[in-house]
């Protein structure tokens, strides 16, 4: 039973990872601040893997990823705050609802734009991101719980190490198993050459939609985890610049490279926070000089992304690639 064996392996890997990190954190070996950063890195990695599906694998240019992250965050936080209380089952349901809300909105945006060339999606998502920022800013006028420009408070602290590791592993498995199947290859063919794909029997509109909706669903789930990690949401967490952050991670990781996206997500978050700790006081804003320089250097030295075509063994398909 191959299915059973891989299930056992996955659960074992999960238990080991989640267990050991939770233990280290609980026993006080790791400072709670860094544990929180680690959870943030996992969350960002889930969201970035979503954009990797959209841009890296499907070849669709999206400039509004943070808006979908925000939709997931506000949806999950609202549901938990009004109906969920502290229940773990409700939390899971709220996270999935957040992903579902992002997916549904992505579907509506995809309907008119995905039949056109990729540039249209870029423009549409850019505009959508800006509109969503305005919506989040004024959300209190239709749902007072969302807080609007003052921010949303009173969100329960539900996000834990086991939860983020669980969703990170699930997201990686979903991407890996899809990409190394007929569906993933169809998605790749859209990126490579839409006309050739169509004449080989691939319904390119359908697969663009699958790629875009799935990627946005990842962002939505990640947003829900984020909301219940920091227990406070502010519209500025989901603006255009946050979309660009994720875009940078995906490009640095190498478009269509799962391992690169994963590693750069962690690197990015720890670098940002690390510099905050290690730069002398008063020089923290130098981050925004150092990081662009690092970006330029990396793109000059490794334009194909830091990992190139290489993937971690557990992210490869069966048979060599």
């Amino acid at each position: 039973m191959r299915l059973l064996r891989s299930l056992v392996k996955t659960v074992a890997a999960y238990a080991l990872l989640a267990g050991s990190i939770s233990f280290l954190a609980g026993a006080g070996f790791v400072n709670p601040y860094w544990v929180q950063i680690l959870m943030l890195a996992c969350i960002v990695a889930i969201s970035a893997q979503g954009l990797n599906i959209i841009y890296g694998f499907t070849g669709l240019f999206s400039l509004g990823h943070a808006a979908f992250y925000g939709i997931g965050a506000y949806t999950a936080a609202y549901l938990m705050k009004t109906y969920g209380g502290q229940s773990q089952a409700a939390f899971l349901a709220a996270l999935l609802a957040g992903g579902g809300a992002s997916a549904a909105v992505a579907y509506l945006i995809g309907l008119p734009t995905l039949r056109l060339t990729s540039d249209y999606l870029g423009i549409a998502t850019l505009g959508f991101g800006i509109i969503m920022k305005v919506v989040f800013d004024n959300a209190d006028s239709f749902l007072p719980e969302l807080g609007g420009a003052r921010g949303m408070t009173g969100i329960a602290k539900m996000t834990t190490i086991p939860w983020v590791i669980f969703f990170l592993i699930v997201s990686l498995l979903v991407v890996r198993n899809t990409i190394h199947s007929r569906y993933g290859r169809a998605i790749l063919s859209v990126r490579e050459d839409e006309i050739a794909a169509e004449t080989m029997g691939i319904d390119t509109f359908q697969y663009k939609m699958v790629g875009f909706v799935t990627g946005c669903a990842f962002a939505g789930v990640a947003g829900g985890l984020y909301a219940h990690l920091y227990t406070f949401l502010h519209p500025s967490n989901f603006d255009f610049f946050k979309s660009i952050d994720i875009l940078i991670i995906v490009v640095l990781g190498g478009l269509g490279n799962m391992s690169g996206t994963l590693v750069v997500s962690f690197g990015w978050i720890f670098l940002l926070e690390g510099l905050r700790v290690f730069l002398p006081p008063g020089y923290v804003e130098l981050r925004w000089v150092l990081i662009p320089v690092l970006l330029i250097v990396t793109m000059l030295l490794r334009p194909q992304g830091i990992f190139g075509a290489h993937e971690f063994p557990f992210l490869r398909g069966k048979g060599a690639r």
């Binding site: 191959r2 299915l3 891989s6 979903v174 198993n177 899809t178 199947s181 007929r182 569906y183 993933g184 290859r185 169809a186 790749l188 063919s189 490579e192 050459d193 006309i195 050739a196 794909a197 169509e198 004449t199 080989m200 029997g201 691939i202 319904d203 390119t204 069966k318 048979g319 060599a320 690639r321």
Partner: protein, 256 residues
């Protein structure tokens, strides 16, 4: 009749690219479509495969209408093609190029893929064997893991044919498959084309500029000029046809 085209017309701005073309392809036929540059041959392929929609005229495959049907559905009805300016999935492996074309014939669903069930593995294993077959026809079986864009020009053309075959067509449209090949490769290609027609029992419509190829293997030819079919017949007749010779005047192509 496999493929039946009547009164096919398409214009781009002021250019009448295809102007009332009739073409018929029977079961197992190997028909050549020739004509000077810009005479509308590729446009006929683009119309038949649904990339462009005709202004007027009818097209049917085995009696089934093709007008207004999107390209991916036309492929599933049984028409596959290659491109004059090669359109491989350049950054993917040779094997993936062929596997993608077989997409519509695989049976496992999304859930089987996500959970990697036995159904998924069976489907992928069968696919692997099929890929092996399609690639070995063109002696590409040892290049499976290479990136398609890194193949030589001739091999890329062959891979395009292998990819088209992997979608299991009834009609194969080849757009200048010998372009850029040396005489030896052209000779091999002629053998490949004849052998795949036998082996897969398909009908082939072949656009070609190299007269040696079309005259050598096609049973019938249709000659286009300015969007119209100006002559049809067996190669020996076409060679003698005055209109054809005039159409080719000024082109640096000899009709042997």
């Amino acid at each position: 009749m496999m493929l039946e085209i009547r009164g096919l017309t398409k214009h781009f701005g002021g250019i009448q690219a295809v102007d009332g073309v009739d073409l018929h392809l029977g079961e197992g036929d190997l028909v050549g479509l020739i004509g000077p540059n810009g005479s509308g041959k590729t446009t006929v392929f683009n119309l038949v495969t649904g990339i462009y929609r005709p202004d007027s005229g009818s097209m049917a495959l085995g009696g089934e209408n093709l007008v207004g049907i999107p390209p991916h559905r036309i492929n599933r009805l049984g028409i596959a093609r290659t491109f004059q300016n090669i359109r491989l999935f350049r950054n993917l492996t040779v094997m993936d190029n062929v596997r993608i074309a077989h997409h519509s014939h695989l049976e496992y669903g999304p859930l089987a893929a996500l959970c990697r069930t036995g159904r998924f593995y069976n489907g992928e294993n069968e696919l692997h064997e099929k890929v092996e077959i399609y690639l070995s026809i063109f002696n590409l079986q040892n290049r499976k893991y290479e990136i398609a864009g890194n193949l030589s020009y001739g091999d890329q053309r062959k891979l395009e044919i292998a990819r088209a075959l992997a979608s299991e067509p009834r009609v194969l449209l080849l757009d200048e498959p010998a372009a850029g090949m040396n005489p030896y490769e052209v000779g091999r290609l002629m053998e490949f084309i004849l052998s795949i027609r036998e082996r897969f029992r398909i009908s082939i419509l072949l656009i070609e500029h190299q007269m040696r190829l079309v005259m050598g293997i096609c049973e019938r030819l249709a000659v286009m000029d300015f969007g119209q079919v100006i002559a049809r017949g067996i190669p020996a007749e076409i060679r003698e046809n005055r209109k054809v010779i005039e159409a080719y005047l000024g082109e640096d192509i000899s009709i042997e």
